[in-house]
Symmetry: C2
Subunit: 289 residues, 2 copies
Amino acid sequence: MKIVHKIEEVRSAVSEAGGEGKLVGFVPTMGFLHKGHISLVEISRESTGYQVMSIFVNRLQFNDPGDFKNYPKSIEKDIEMAKAAGVDLLFIPDDTEMYSNNLTHVNVDLLTLNLCGAHRPGHFEGVFTVVSKLFNIIQPHAAVFGQKDIQQAVSIEKMVSDLNFPVKIIIAPIVREEDGLAMSSRNKHLSEEQRVSALSIYRSLKRGESAITDGERDVERIISLMIDVIKTGNPDSIDYVTAVNYDDLSIAEKITGRTVIAVAAFWGTTRLIDNMIIEPHGDGFKCIY
Amino acid sequence: MKIVHKIEEVRSAVSEAGGEGKLVGFVPTMGFLHKGHISLVEISRESTGYQVMSIFVNRLQFNDPGDFKNYPKSIEKDIEMAKAAGVDLLFIPDDTEMYSNNLTHVNVDLLTLNLCGAHRPGHFEGVFTVVSKLFNIIQPHAAVFGQKDIQQAVSIEKMVSDLNFPVKIIIAPIVREEDGLAMSSRNKHLSEEQRVSALSIYRSLKRGESAITDGERDVERIISLMIDVIKTGNPDSIDYVTAVNYDDLSIAEKITGRTVIAVAAFWGTTRLIDNMIIEPHGDGFKCIY
């Protein structure tokens, strides 16, 4: 595995791989890697022959400079994990390499207003801007984003389509612990008791899924069922339980097409998110992942 | 010359040219071509081997739907001129091919506030967005923009640098009639008398240039001299006479580095613009074009 810090080094390595006829896959990360990130590399490898991963904590997507400064880091472990996962090129730029008096911003309207966007003004603009930069630096054939942050994944799909980036976006299913809890670097902040209680998020999504596959189409009723289930885990607060249309992330009233059911809730100060994608199948609906 | 209307046709033609080892040059236009546009192709050819031109009247950069609808068109003449200029690939998409429910926008802060930007809210965002799309569709090695619209050229240079587009931006000098009037599709709207009077724009820039090369560094005094000269042509109104720093298009107070002196004025309802770029040279300054 080659580790590079400069944009020109990336261009040169990727160009060499391209010269050898390899398709380039790309997994952007902010480091502090866990199994979820590694699964993205594995999915990338299914359709490409040269794996690029970036580790860059993107200042632009933090509202709070303190959060940016305190973002957890484990660079030595990250390097080991990336290597073990078969990453070919690991790009670790510093802030100066990425942002030198940056005045340019990319934005996608509408999609960022619901779900987590309402709580993080400017966050998604920061994400779109850095992803545009990374796409232009790496020029990958495919890039993989986790379904966990569904709003990010869907809005990047839209950005790529709108701006005609020659990149195939692959959305990778959520990786779960054996009991169903979605993997997250935040899970380690949960006490043993909270860890068990937080499973009510997954049960809540499963309840929404079964309601829909059993024929319920009214979103208000579905959400009410889901809230009942999530409450059995006594979350300290529920941020949202919602169903949105996949294409534009607008709030759904009836289940008609591909839909995302999504939950965000706090146990203590730890905010957990999770979602499922459900789409028409035959006469009914099924969860695709 | 190949004429295509679909994005996929462009990708396929450009990929073929790239496969033959040709560097790709790109000249974006809104059609209604004149010699100025053709000069951009000639400049592109100096450093690339395959010339792509686009003709697309970009809805997003018009504030007034009427102006968009009434934008002059001469597609058959354009095709002849492009062919004669040695364009290899002419891309003429329709509105649907370029914008299908577009929600994504690219913006560059600050640079668009001075000069013409103040009068055209949203205009530059439309330009940045369509240029980003065209760069991603065509993936050129170099793209040529005219110095005539200096604000557009400099802010696209900044966008390309900020977002790391792998495209070299070439700024082509203003093409002038023999008497110095900058070429423009608008010149045909001038009466014979206005046509002569409007030369005071060019004389005004020359006056600014000579003041600077003679050692004047105070922008207020330079602009005062320029205004005196432009007034000799009795413009119906003067929009601006200004000097801005090249790097960020901020208003200059003293001439210190690379500077743009720029003029916009009306004769009748016809708005004419012109500029010169002046930069440090030895102990003094010179006009570079």
